[in-house]
Symmetry: D3
């Protein structure tokens, strides 16, 4: 099994609903350092999983739709808790839709919210 990962980041404001979140129910923010991994059992004819340039550009575009925003006011995120886990899934799904990969490729996304905490989501090919 082969994989390729590219890293980028986004900087957002948001708040959480639910007592479990304690002080994070207040409006605050985060830098998410985002790792997007693409996984396939075999390489293509060029000897790659996916062109790193293409992968990086897709990630930058997906994050460009989220960064420098208050996620509490984004219409397409209304009614959902934008936890690190949920955002990892959102980024993975948007990468899948944008890339329209012709080969079955698993996509995993990790969001690092600090040097001591991160969350991931992996979708099947």
């Amino acid at each position: 099994m082969f994989s390729v990962t590219v890293r980028d980041h986004m900087m957002i404001a948001h708040s959480f609903r639910g007592e479990v979140f304690g002080p994070a129910q207040r409006l605050h923010g985060a830098t998410y350092v985002v790792d997007a991994t693409f996984r396939r059992p075999e390489l293509d004819a060029d000897g790659i999983v996916i062109d790193i340039g293409r992968a990086g550009e897709a990630l930058r575009e997906v994050l460009g739709g989220l960064t420098y925003r208050n996620l509490d006011e984004e219409p397409d995120l209304a009614g959902i808790n934008t936890t690190t886990e949920m955002l990892a899934k959102l980024v993975a799904d948007r990468l899948h839709d944008r890339l329209q990969l012709d080969e079955p490729t698993a996509i995993a996304v990790t969001l690092h919210e600090s040097h001591v905490a991160w969350a991931s989501y992996e979708r099947a090919p």
Copy 2:
């Protein structure tokens, strides 16, 4: 599949039994930077795998029972080689016992013993 990881550390003394360990048979020590990962197929009603605060607190308590100690003299570790692999399993098992998670959750623990070596253990849900 979703996961959440929290990081903490412990600083211990110990020695190993067995020729394979060479100079590490002498009493020495290590800082272990410890990553504890919790993995579940679905998120809960709050949109999380586990509350990061709760996960971090559990990890701190488990490591609090090991840090600033000479593991060679800990009664409940008597007779075992406290290799990085063994300690990864010990931390994962203690996290499992302490958290009493109601949902089936896999726990993986990685102990970084330096910038060039680390070991992991993953227990099934």
Copy 3:
């Protein structure tokens, strides 16, 4: 010259005033991974610059007054641009006031806003 550094983090929302900031004029947020360095020409009688536990606790308290907040609405930050540079100075000054160090000690603070950008402020002893 000796120094000791401790690391912690805070997660805040804010916005900037000034065209130079482009999209960062919108409400957004950041995780700042914060390194606080204490520098002295000589060690004390215990062989240390400052107790790491005490330094870490002071940093946690100072960051506790900022984290999980929207800095645009903090009364004591009214009218200032909370740039990474400005926040580095704010944290350094508050550490100085809180610690009341009896020896002349330089304090430097670095705020990492992502894996590709950070800012620092150093105040003389």
Copy 4:
């Protein structure tokens, strides 16, 4: 499941064939920071997956056959695109051949080509 990872690096020149590579079709180079992971369901009698010293030495020897070279002129790499993915497989296969592990052990190799991109290959036990 247990694993142990060791890290080392190599510094090579090479070029790629194929329009997808854009400017990387020119002769250029890379530092690959290489992580070699060994994975087994159970520990051996010493409480380890593999001796870290032995794993590190094997990795150093395998990388020693590649580092400080122009891969475009290595006879045993003639005709293949030495992409990060391909090199990850090459290192994993050579580690497998060199170590002659008596227990079934999966080997995974990750090559970090920069702070924002890396690739991996995992071979089954």
Copy 5:
């Protein structure tokens, strides 16, 4: 004293002249992860040392003139040993020329050639 740092990277081939370099006299290559630091005693009216976006763009342009190349064949590098130290100075000087900063600003550049070695150059304001 305030500073701001931005990080980017380049991937080059080169060789060294001089017995001290041992096997690095052969054509090989490196990824340099490059940190460019700008240092000033006071902030400007916007509360910054330099706009991070502008700094990052200048660094990307300077590295764009070096990356994906064989430095042994670059006319403007003819006759010089492109050691990590020399390249750190080259990048710092080119940043200075390109940015035409109106305030006296020290520029320091660090090139990380691996996870275990790096070199820096700092030019006075």
Copy 6:
């Protein structure tokens, strides 16, 4: 001003004397990831501060005299608190003695004791 840094590590046991150290008065241990920096105003005729291979070898030898030991029982450390600060000075002084550099070169040593704490010592040329 130019500098070169090399990184290695050591793994030791020790304990501290003094109430300020709290639980670290017990026998425990640490991995120190050690960065040794060499600083000079000008490069030599080969375009370097110091040969990275030579610097790395010297650091490995100095750390080889400390690693895999209980520092409480080392005769030449008797009577001193082996704090991170003290050990940084010890490594810097031993590097100076071993390398016998003919040019005036400042040596700075940083010991990382975890992902959240480190200490440094810099000696003048």
